[in-house]
Symmetry: C2
Amino acid sequence: MSRTRKRSSEASHAAIFAAAAEEFSERGFEAGGVDRIAAKARVNKAMLYYHFGSKRALYIEILRDMFRAVSQKARAIADGPGTAPDKLDRWIATIIQEAAARPWFPPIMLRELASGAPRFDPDTFALMNSIFGAVRDILLQGQREGSFGDLDPLLTHLTIMPPILIFFARQRVLATKEIATGLLEPRQIDAFVAHMQRTALRLVQKEGPRPS
Amino acid sequence: MSRTRKRSSEASHAAIFAAAAEEFSERGFEAGGVDRIAAKARVNKAMLYYHFGSKRALYIEILRDMFRAVSQKARAIADGPGTAPDKLDRWIATIIQEAAARPWFPPIMLRELASGAPRFDPDTFALMNSIFGAVRDILLQGQREGSFGDLDPLLTHLTIMPPILIFFARQRVLATKEIATGLLEPRQIDAFVAHMQRTALRLVQKEGPRPS
DNA sequence: TGGTCTATTAACTAACCAGTTGGTTAACTG
DNA sequence: CAGTTAACCAACTGGTTAGTTAATAGACCA
């Protein structure tokens, strides 16, 4: 049946993708091995080249998958209705949810930042930039509305994103070492969302009279 | 003369250290090559093993060098005189200065965080933890004195450090690509110090009446 | 002067890696 | 049923890698 073959093909594709995401997340692009990926996916190494063309193309596919999802949601929030503080809250909740749903994303992204993203093709780079574009629009809206103070959108973005990436990279490590269980329970994530929302609001707020 | 030989030995040691710092910073531990390090240091590869014993020992030496410097200064600030907000400001200025002086540090640290620091021996790990210990003492002092609100020291530390690491990792990338020159001029760094000091203060401040 | 130690080297090894090749199997099609 | 093709695989290749070894040059000292 065509179904059987087709399904098998898609299953192989998905298994390779999942195995590669895990491998690259744990070891990085250079240290990640295609033999190990193939073994994890229970697939012959040649299938990896059959389905994805090259180690790099497979890696980029993993990056693009997550950029596509985040970029689309960020644009929807920025272009949708609501006040700027409200949009900022929703943006933070969204990116944290997406990171929690793709545990391989934060380590890969951190390594890309550390390396200067030399593996990004122009399209992937543009996709990543469009995420910042949405955030910038939210921040500028807040300034226009008078609810946000004077701020540098890029610097603000670069202050909010890194703690999120490192929080999840650390969580994965702690989970792997089994130092503490249940650290990624929903309550834990909700508390972190609240922390980052509070942090972001304090960061963009207008300066004003302070207590004491 | 013994001087000539001794100096030559120390010079080789230093050249290998510098070349390795650069190599590991650009490519990471796994992708970093000892042959490339030796070539950069203008030294035979065997000298690397003579002076440092192994690739990993060389790598750890680079990590310890920076942890030693930062840990010592952090302790001095935490244990010295001054109010908590003042200490927090000095801590941020210090870590940013140390990162600027060791441009290889942020990328290496980011990759370690992404990998879960599997290459840390217990001593190095303790050295790194003692940095957090000093920061925690500053934050607790602020709570005791009533100038800081209710906060989680670890979460606060993990909100302040990542933007600093990523700021410098990005700077190095931009400098390499020569997209913009002079980005790391003193003024640029001073502005970033001010931004992070403002960010940290807003983060730890007591909640109070806000401007509407 | 002859022995000893530090610093250095070229040449080697054994393992590993990304990617290729040449061929097989099995579902579908006319 | 015969031909086509998507999906799959074992085995190989060429190149790279961390780490070793055996030998040597020169400083120091007795």
